[in-house]
Symmetry: C2
Subunit: 311 residues, 2 copies
């Protein structure tokens, strides 16, 4: 079951020839979540051979154009391609009107159901959940109301120890109960406890997307220990005053959040167009948090399954 993140765009507001505005795609067990949707995201999806029709949930962090101007084109193209499945869009309240005014101008009645879900910016909110994952907002501090998103796999059941099936001659029909937490009553009338019959569950994997934000320690409890933290790093620390004015972060600040939140891996992005060579941003972050990677378009970051050692 994959849990991987693909970068579709990694630049800040003004796109360059090399770098598109923000968009990312998270694949959790074959379900695709589009996170922000800057201008040209539909073309990036096409370029990296990702089927748009497999995306059912889109999350828009805030209404600066570099995070959502591609949404109307993405929706229109799915309509033109005859999509039938539902699409859910999560974002600030005004987004619905922005999309509908454009659909109305072209007299478009979408051929698929489109649902808008608006969220607030004060406290974390549960946006959606399915069998595999929950998605919460992460309130951020930016010049517009803005939220990041926390994707967390749901806890999985402990795994059956195959050798115990043989040892206690457990019939197959008893396995589901055991997986769900039960023990097994052997033929000798002995109750074999669940913990003996199973090994540790897969650790739930998690990804925190922190789009535009100034340095903000209040997010730390929520993102603590995540497998991947994406945190914007628009500037080098030598421009920290500029970062403060524009309510963005420096690479050093992003790394400080990563370190304090004890995350496993940090990906930085949302680079100012002034940086052609991005190495200094990575170098700066690594002085604080060594496991830092640069967001590069088209690259996929996988989170492998891990298990606690069995007690």
């Amino acid at each position: 079951m994959p849990f991987d993140l693909t970068i579709l765009g990694c630049n800040s507001a003004v796109p360059t020839n090399q770098r598109k505005p923000t968009a990312q795609l998270l694949n959790v067990a074959g379900r695709f979540f589009l996170i922000d949707c800057g201008e040209g995201t539909q073309l990036q999806l096409r370029k990296y051979k990702i089927r748009m029709q497999n995306i059912h949930h889109v999350f828009i962090s805030h209404l600066h154009g570099d995070h959502y101007f591609g949404l109307i084109g993405f929706i229109s193209t799915m309509h033109l391609l005859g999509r039938e499945k539902e699409l859910h869009v999560y974002g600030p309240a005004e987004l619905k009107e922005i999309i509908y005014i454009q659909l109305e101008a072209s007299k478009t009645t979408l051929c698929f159901p489109l649902f808008f879900h608006e969220f607030g910016f004060e406290n974390p909110e549960l946006l959606m959940e399915n069998n595999d994952v929950t998605v919460h907002t992460i309130p951020l501090k930016h010049s517009l109301p803005c939220c990041g998103f926390l994707f967390k796999e749901k806890p999985k059941p402990r795994r059956m120890r195959k050798e115990k099936i043989e040892e206690y001659n457990i019939p197959l029909e008893a396995v589901p109960d055991i997986k769900e937490g039960g023990g097994y009553l052997s033929k000798d009338g002995e109750l074999i406890p669940h913990i003996e019959l199973t090994r540790s569950a897969q650790n739930p994997r998690s990804f925190a997307f922190c789009s535009d934000t100034m340095y903000n320690e209040s997010i730390i409890p929520q993102i603590e220990g995540v497998d991947i933290l994406y945190h914007e790093a628009t500037f080098l620390d030598e421009l920290k005053e500029r970062a403060k004015q524009t309510m963005h972060s420096t690479a050093k600040e992003a790394a400080t959040i990563a370190k304090k939140a004890k995350v496993k891996r940090l990906i930085i992005g949302h680079y100012s167009q002034r940086y052609f060579d991005l190495t200094p941003l990575q170098d700066e972050a690594e002085t604080v948090f060594p496991n830092t990677l640069l967001a590069h378009e088209g690259e996929t970051h996988e989170v492998k399954r891990t298990y606690d050692s069995d007690s």
Copy 2:
């Protein structure tokens, strides 16, 4: 003084990896006119090294997204780059609201003056003129109200014959009057007529942009004899029923319009995404109108200056 057209995007509604949605740039004597602005146009301008800040007039033919979804990004980027000069946008009435609702959502007060000019769709209207050019709408027939645009150089004055300056010993200060149509009273009291002192004026160059339209002969009188006709050719003629249903044209129909309007050169575009190889579209059009070219992104079509032979 240049008069040339650069293709920035040439595909129909669904963009492909190879072809972006409609956008063209006309350069008349160093003034740049952006015509339609599909998603990603700002990146195409950047790719082809065209300075966005040199564009002062944008014409939007209609409100199907593949003709205008890039406008808000284009405007936002010019704001972020600190533009100061005016920008004039010509388009259907709803366009203004669509742009402003997005500027308001991001609390953006533009740092440059933005003017919207709405037009009707019944009769040709003069949209703008400067010293060099006039721009009129060309009412088209499409599934949304839609206009093309006719760019026409203003008539130029006849050119001075240098040998006559010498022959009649004409002082330099008399030349502007002659250029504007006057004769010259020689020292002998003889009135040398304007026609003898000058040679033919440069022929006014012209470009007609006919974006989405079904076959529509009523445009012919307006576009007669233009140097370049861009006419959409979404389909091959074998799909002419599909063209009719969607109110688009076939390559053959575009060529028929070009032939009947006796234009000098036809450029076809707005290709359906079903065509990977575009040669059949060109071949089909050439059977009716031989001087047909395919619109290809990044290509520039120049209209050279011509003069009638002097009588």
